[in-house]
Symmetry: C2
Subunit: 105 residues, 2 copies
């Protein structure tokens, strides 16, 4: 098999709604993952770029959290409105979306 | 936040037991993920090396499938008996376990 050129993971971990750390599912992780899959399908990059659900990425207070490999670029507070920008600029254009990064704080 | 030095994802996707492509859950993905977490905890590398569950990694016939980032090294047919070798040799020792790789076929 050929490794993906970009592989994005969306945290879809769910904690109880009143949990002090919050959780990505409560912040809309499942909808976000579906939106990434939808936009990638529309771009026709199957087998080259992939979006996956992931368990807890351990950055709960920054949810929804997304990580892009092999770049190891982390995004926080991601909403469906950010998906096209992340796909087109970063996954396809190879230029991370700086305003959403949490790996430099 | 500081990105993980190694970040391993275990596919835990479940298809119906009679599905022609098989699935990683049917091959023991959940138990495998738990074993990775257990061994990593014992090694005391929290915050540095992490194992996560993932949705379908699209290599179903090679299940259980594991991918290690940022290396982009893929393993197939992984069982709990392989976990200590992958952790100690690759995640901690930085040397991939060649006999389990599927990214070079």
């Amino acid at each position: 098999m050929k490794p993906f050129r970009k592989h994005l993971f969306v945290c879809t971990n769910r904690r109880p709604d009143d949990h002090p750390r919050g959780s990505c599912a409560a912040a809309g992780g499942d909808e976000l993952k579906d939106r990434f899959k939808e936009v990638l399908k529309a771009r026709g990059v199957k087998g080259d770029v992939r979006a996956n659900a992931a368990g807890c990425l351990d950055q709960c207070s920054a949810g929804c959290v997304v990580v892009v490999y092999p770049d190891a670029v982390w995004y926080g507070g991601v909403t469906p409105a950010d998906v096209e920008e992340i796909v087109d600029r970063h996954l396809l254009g190879n230029e991370p979306v700086q305003r959403l990064r949490i790996d430099r704080a």
